[in-house]
């Protein structure tokens, strides 16, 4: 979605008709941020600048709102987002080892993205399948019972 094409009135629907123009524009902010992130994978500064003009909102305020939510990212994301579970069960079954191996192999730290944008490495609290510990998620998929072999395969699929 292009920022220029955001139709403030339409996206707000019935509620938009009641609200003053200014509130209408403010109200659509998170909507717009989600759409931008979907397109770009993150929130690029130049796009936010355009959004700031379009919605008459200070750029600093847009950054403030976006940074409140962990869901929004300000730097490009990897094509694969790997989240290593550090919940109790996984921890006990060697999640730390999984994590440090990934860090070493890709030469990045938790929270970082590889230079070629192949992968972003993150951790997660618990994803609710402790029976498969240790687990990690790759984008939407769950990889369970990670041993040495599985870890190698995982690394290979990432590239």
């Amino acid at each position: 979605m292009k920022v220029e094409e955001i139709d403030v009135a339409e996206q707000m629907g019935e509620v938009g008709r009641i609200l003053r123009e200014y509130d209408r524009k403010k109200g659509i902010l998170i909507h717009a941020l989600l759409a931008i992130q979907e397109d770009h994978g993150y929130l690029p500064e130049d796009v936010l600048r355009k959004l700031s003009k379009k919605l008459d909102l200070p750029l600093a305020e847009i950054y403030s709102v976006a940074s409140f939510y962990k869901q929004f990212h300000f730097t490009p994301r990897g094509r694969k987002v790997v989240r290593v579970c550090l919940g109790t069960a996984c921890y006990v079954r060697g999640a730390k080892k999984v994590l440090s191996t990934l860090e070493e192999r890709f030469n990045i730290k938790v929270g970082e993205t590889t230079e070629d944008l192949a992968m972003t490495l993150e951790t997660v609290g618990c994803i609710g399948c402790c029976g498969l510990a240790p687990v990690a998620t790759v984008n939407e998929d769950v990889v369970g019972e990670i041993g040495l072999k599985k870890l190698d395969r995982l690394i290979k699929t990432i590239g």
Binding site: E45, L48, S52, D56, P58, L59, A60, E61, I62, Y63, S64, S67, F68, F74
Partner: protein, 684 residues
């Protein structure tokens, strides 16, 4: 007037106006309720939880910053319960704050230090937690150090309220931090470096960049004065140490919408000691400017003036104090005996509009009509007016912008009327007459053909409903706008220089040759033209870079060596406004007093002392003007009457060019030059 309610605070009976919050009400009773995030004049946000107090009859403590007074309320601000909470809050904040008060610049004025002292907390009982966020020290004005920040949000709120909006919070919880957009350095964020954030920061997170080990607050002598760099004439508080200026802060009352100064007013004082500062009189000998004595310089000038009489012309800026203006006028008329004196005011205003303006206070207004004006903090055109209006809009003021060109401030308006100003003014008057406002026949007949639109109707309704409407008008539209003020409210003609109104009242107005005639009506700055006088005497930093053709002798009396001064035959060094005492009448019609804050640099003297000295040599000595003389000159009847709906022509000078031109030495001789270069680079 708001109704008065009676309440009890810590066993003291207090009378407070309805709608007032408890922090302000307690202050009336002489009780200080601790707070870190409350900004007087703005809505309390209850972020710091320090102002919790107990109200009898209520179970839980309430925040005083956002609780309004009620008749019969009984409040206790120092119960065991709230003291315990406050102590806990300070304890928590200290766990994330450096404990280096011994070298901290803010020691003595730090609120956190004060409250920690009050509770006897040496260090936090919690584990220390620091994030190690780096400081932003990439500019010469403001240092931002997140390590000291207590996230009170005052800087964010003041920045937003005045419409600059470059600061905001990032993240949440303990990791929260005050940032610019994408955490860029200030100069890349659209910051105007007004320093309002520095004024409100209760700790050491925001500070003037040059303060490290340059003295702390208790070492300073503080004097209130007025900034004379532009038409706003803002109140300032000047801190000096050992006879030199250390810093300048906003000086208007806390809570007033006018509590604001721009980067020029706050940081321009460096220029006092700039390389270009004139400390000795100079005289052209064999084609070269050489330092000389006052005696010699004045004798040369006196001689020239005496012989040339009517061929002498005086041009002056309108940023000189009343006393200088009075003496200049007498010097011209009674000593040199010519009519040729005029000021830069004539470039943007007719003096009558300034003389006939009302006296007003923007803090009292509930509606502002802004006619033909484009105040801008970013361009520093009447920046304080821009900030004050935006702050007032946040507090409920209605704003109607009437401007034929694009005005940035229209973004804060309730209604923005574009198109020809005069037609819009007429239409508003017409609607008001239809609504039953009584007006002269002349007015009625001149507006009967005016076209009315929906927005005009709305603007007129706002005016009809307002209790204290205030019209700010550009001088050229003053007379047309004044017709509205005949129905209700007040009107101010807004000039571009600090004492334009005072200069008009002191009678320094066009009588002989005009300013333009004396400097030649050159089309561009580079091109010179024939002047109407033989000897030109320029007072202050006039917006003129080239010696006009036809001038036999040029005298420049200014504080700095300008381009024009380099072409002069005699240069007389004058004191800056921080170095000589005087009064001005600001654009709102208020008499403001400027004390002498520091000694003039070198041998420089005040304008009036130079004129008085010259008058003695010429043989008709002048006296220093008495206070009563100034006061008498300010007493003018401001009764307005109908004037035709027209825009006065001939005042088309670019405001930003004029303001930068009369402040060229301030800008070039201070760290503002850095800012100007950055702004130029960003604009490309």
């Amino acid at each position: 007037m708001a109704d008065i309610v009676g309440l009890t605070i810590d066993d003291k009976e207090v009378q407070a106006p309805e709608g007032m919050n408890l922090i302000d009400a307690a202050e009336l009773a002489g009780v200080h309720i601790p707070n870190l995030c409350y900004l007087k004049g703005m809505k309390g946000i209850g972020a710091c939880r320090l102002c919790l107090i107990e109200i009898e009859g209520l179970k839980a403590p309430m925040i005083a910053c956002n609780t309004k007074v009620k008749e019969g309320m009984v409040i206790n601000t120092k119960t065991e319960k709230v003291l315990e909470i406050r102590k806990f809050v300070i304890d928590l904040i200290l766990s994330m704050h450096p404990l280096d008060c011994m070298t901290c610049t803010k020691a003595g004025v730090c609120r956190l230090q004060q409250y920690a002292y009050d509770f006897g907390i040496k260090e936090s009982s919690f584990t220390r937690k620091r994030f190690g966020y780096p400081a932003d020290e990439a500019n010469p004005f403001i240092k931002r150090d997140p390590e000291y920040c207590i996230i009170c949000g005052k800087c964010v709120h003041i920045c937003k309220a005045q419409g600059t909006s470059v600061l905001d919070f990032m993240g949440r919880g303990v990791e929260a931090k005050v940032i610019t957009a994408n955490d860029r350095p200030l100069q890349e964020s659209g910051c105007t470096f007004c320093g309002s954030c520095v004024d409100v920061c209760p700790v050491n997170a925001l500070l003037e960049a040059d303060r490290w080990r340059k003295g702390r607050e208790w070492e300073y002598e503080k004097v209130n004065s007025v900034c004379l760099l532009c038409g706003n004439g803002c109140e300032i508080t000047v801190s000096t140490k050992e006879g030199s200026i250390q810093k300048i802060n906003a000086g208007a009352a806390e809570g007033s919408a006018e509590r604001y100064i721009c980067a020029y007013g706050r940081f321009g004082f460096d220029c006092i000691e700039a390389e270009t500062r004139l400390t000795h009189p100079m005289k052209r000998i064999n084609g070269e400017l050489k330092e000389t004595t006052w005696e010699d310089a004045l004798r040369t000038v006196a001689d020239k003036l005496k012989r040339s009489g009517k061929d002498v012309g005086f041009i002056s800026v309108a940023g000189i104090v009343n006393e200088d203006a009075l003496v200049l006028k007498k010097f011209v008329k009674d000593v040199v005996k010519t009519e040729n004196v005029n000021t830069t005011m004539s470039l943007y205003a007719d003096s009558d509009s300034l003389r006939k303006s009302h006296t007003a206070d923007i803090d009292d207004a509930d509606l502002v009509f802004l006619v033909g004006l484009s105040p801008s903090q970013r361009e520093r055109i009447l920046p304080a007016l821009d900030a004050a209006i935006r702050k007032k809009v946040n507090r409920g003021l209605k704003l109607v912008v009437i401007n034929s060109s694009e005005a940035k401030i229209a973004e804060a308006s309730t209604i923005s009327l574009k198109g020809d100003e005069v037609s819009n003014l007429k239409a508003i008057v017409r609607v008001l007459i239809d609504k039953g406002f009584k007006a002269d026949k002349e007015i009625e007949s001149s507006v009967k053909d005016a076209e009315v639109s929906e927005d005009i109707e709305k603007a007129a309704s706002l005016f009809a409903e307002a209790k204290e409407p205030l019209i700010f008008s550009s001088p050229s539209l003053f007379w047309a706008s004044a017709n509205i003020s005949l129905l209700k409210g007040k009107i101010i003609s807004v000039a571009l220089e600090s004492n334009a109104r005072g200069v008009a009242l002191m009678g320094l107005t066009t009588e002989g040759k005009t300013y333009k005639e004396m400097v030649g009506t050159a089309e561009s700055k580079e091109q010179s033209a024939q002047s109407g006088v033989k000897v030109l005497y320029a007072v202050g930093e006039v917006p003129l870079n080239k010696r006009p053709d036809g001038i036999d002798f040029l005298i420049v009396q200014n504080s700095h060596l300008t381009e024009l001064a380099q072409q002069a035959d005699v240069i007389l060094p004058s004191a800056t406004f921080l170095e000589s005492a005087g009064t001005i009448i600001d654009y709102m019609g208020r008499l403001k007093y400027l004390p002498q804050i520091i000694e003039p640099q070198g041998a420089s003297k005040s304008h009036r002392d130079i004129f008085i000295h010259l008058s003695k040599i010429i043989g008709s000595p002048l006296k220093r003007p008495a206070e009563a003389e100034v006061k008498k000159a300010t007493r003018v009847k401001t009764k307005l009457s109908f004037s035709p709906f027209v825009k006065k022509e001939g005042f088309d000078i670019s405001p930003s060019e004029l303001i930068d031109s009369i402040n060229a030495s301030v800008i070039n001789g201070s760290r503002l030059l850095w800012l100007k270069e950055i702004e130029r680079a960003m604009a490309v």
